[in-house]
Point group: C2
Chain length 417, copies 2
């Protein structure tokens, strides 16, 4: 069978399974998740053996230590997958939730019911635990999933897929509810993202180039997350202790994450007070500073270029710009932000209110670290990704982002006059 | 200037204007809508003169009477536009609505704020009143709009655009908040649907082939409405009087509309009771019937082909199928429906509940005519279109569908531990 036929078979099976999943009870879905956890636990030797094949061929291919580390299915990674399954089973089921029911003048009762999207395609890179993460969120939200992991993890992913199949079988859910693509042929991705009759949405998880490529070629909706070029603006009416803590935490709590601050904007009225103190703290943490001319006049920093304002460093590097006021800060953000997360530090009520309304990013904060922009911190319980799009789901995407709302109408024989 | 440069200028201007609109007050937006209404009313001679040019060249091109009728800006069409502007001004402003605020264990307060999408591109066919409808909904929801009407209506649309520009100017909103494409070059559409840096969503309003073409080529999200192949299923536990009224109303209330029933499914247990009565009523209305074999054994109908089950007639034609039970009806719907609107007629509570949960359409009804699937009937106040997609907005799309929700976080100097 060629790759196209193979993928279309997966698609047809997924579509069929999605109907059974939409009709499955919360109890059944949870039971399948918990059964999968038990099977994973009992399958550690098989998982480790499959993973060893991937690690071996990874080493042979010359993958670097970092990538091999991401690929490894250690006991603690398996523990994490089991714990994740239990957590997702414990979350409330979003499907079937009915809201906004009201009677209309015609006498009909109208409202909304939350329903699965249908079939979700997940494309991800080498970490095999994503297979469990993504499958469990899709299953819980009543969606069938087609998972396409990195080719380096093919044996690990197939072994995990067997555990999931076992969990589904135990409660009588169709095995096509979760399908892991068994070929490493790259054409499979091209087919997955274009077979709109079988796939409702694609969630790519990986580097920016992967996501850009998928978004460009997809004929299916993509919940995508590109850069996280996040800003903190310290207003001249900020509490400077809060500003210090937030600016330090947003940059240095973790570097390689999308919700880390990449550019600090400081109102000129407080720049001489706050920047020296921050520069000292950043120096202690080994953060390289790049600043505008006004910044360089106050602290030691290399010159920030135009490119710096648009760069997601994901590293201990920070660009700093002194701005006239909040309007200039919002203007800078609108020009350079990736619309992920921005935070203002201010005690001024009116500016806080304006910043929240006027900054067009997926998360806008007042007096809080950008590091809080995260599904767990927001109480979603789990996160399939963070969307930097405005259509459908925006910001951290949990179970609800994998569903849509249909309208429901209840009548008693009502007809249009 | 070539078309590409021209469109990109519109895009840049719209993006810029969208920021001002996002910051505009509800009062300003409403004032602009009402000022436009006043200017339209005072501009009747200019509007009629511009429209006369379009009608004349339409006749010269040999447009048929139906198309010329849609193109005409009569006094009553202008009255309708003015009334529409006033209605949209009276609707609540969706922007800035804050919901779901809660405190998290970390101490931050998290919730959602509704915000405009940004820039909306509208592509439509000959009716010039769509220019006002679409512009008013986008303006009210805080979005900048680029409108591309049919080339036959170019003079009418430009005259309407001048009225809108006057309304915007009166309250100091940027003229680029509503831009009507001034060229009839078809390349303009291709540019509009692919300049993702300037346009956030496209709403095509027109025939299926237009929408399919746009969806295929767009690099921007499309809120699309394809077919309305709507079903009514008469269960064997239906109240047959309700069933009769709903089946008749769903088909015959209006024919050329997307929420008209195209296929009637009847449980075999009641087919001999309900079908003859319905056939008589349909005959009185001049509805042509096409039936499955079981249907033809009960009433006079031509043979329905496989193609009939997938056809949106938009005409006094109805296909009828006798099915074993509700499961068979749901199976037929899942195979042939366009996922627009389906209705079950039943007195059985459990079946009603299952039908609502398991039928995957944008509107699912119990004991009501499919003709109720409409933004006005649902209380949206206005409708930019009906979406048959599952991503973002589903079913009738009002002001809310032209917005997204961003996350907001309020803190007091909170940092991640």
């Amino acid at each position: 069978m060629n790759v196209q036929e193979y993928m279309r078979d997966l698609g047809r099976n997924a579509r069929q399974a999605s109907r059974q999943l939409a009709a499955a009870t919360s109890g059944d879905k949870n039971a399948a998740l918990l059964a999968t956890a038990t099977i994973l636990d009992a399958s550690r030797p098989a998982l480790v053996a499959a993973n060893a094949k991937d690690l071996e061929s990874g080493k042979a291919k010359g993958l670097d230590a970092h990538l091999l580390d991401r690929l490894a299915l250690t006991d603690s990674v398996i523990d994490g997958m089991i714990e994740g399954l239990r957590q997702v089973a414990a979350l409330p089921d979003p499907c079937g939730e009915i809201t906004d029911m009201s009677y209309r003048p015609s006498g009909i009762q109208v409202g909304k019911m939350r329903a699965p999207l249908g079939v979700v395609g997940i494309i991800y890179e080498s970490r095999p635990n994503v297979t469990i993460d993504a499958a469990s969120l899709c299953l819980k939200s009543g969606n069938a999933t087609i998972l396409r992991g990195g080719s380096e993890a093919i044996h690990s992913n197939q072994a995990i897929a067997q555990c999931i199949a076992g969990g589904l079988a135990e409660v009588g859910l169709p095995s096509a509810a979760v399908q892991v693509v068994a070929t490493t042929d790259r054409e499979a991705v091209g087919e997955l993202i274009t077979m709109a009759e079988y796939v409702d949405v694609i969630v790519p998880r990986g580097g920016k180039s992967l996501i850009e490529r998928i978004s460009r070629d997809a004929k299916v909706a993509v919940i995508k997350h590109l850069d996280g070029i996040c800003h903190v603006y310290i207003d001249d009416q900020a509490d400077l202790d809060k500003a210090f803590n937030i600016a330090l935490n947003s940059k240095t709590h973790r570097y390689g994450v999308c919700n880390a601050m990449e550019t600090l904007l400081v109102a000129k009225g407080v720049a001489t007070q706050i920047l020296p103190r921050l520069a000292e703290a950043y120096a202690e943490k080994g953060v390289e500073l790049r600043g505008c001319e006004a910044t360089q006049a106050i602290i030691s920093a290399s010159a920030a270029t135009e490119e710096d304002w648009g760069t997601e460093y994901l590293a201990p590097v920070l660009s700093i710009r002194v701005v006239d006021d909040m309007d200039a800060a919002i203007e800078h953000i609108s020009q350079h932000s990736s619309a992920h997360t921005e935070s203002i530090v201010t005690e001024n009520f009116t500016r806080a209110r304006r910043f929240l309304a006027e900054v067009d990013s997926s998360t806008v904060m007042v007096n809080a670290s950008t590091r809080f922009a995260d599904g767990f911190e927001f109480g979603l319980g789990a996160e399939i990704g963070i969307s930097t799009d405005k259509i459908h789901a925006r910001g951290p995407v949990g179970l609800e982002g994998l569903t849509s709302q249909k309208w429901i109408v209840l009548g008693d024989g009502h007809i249009r006059q």
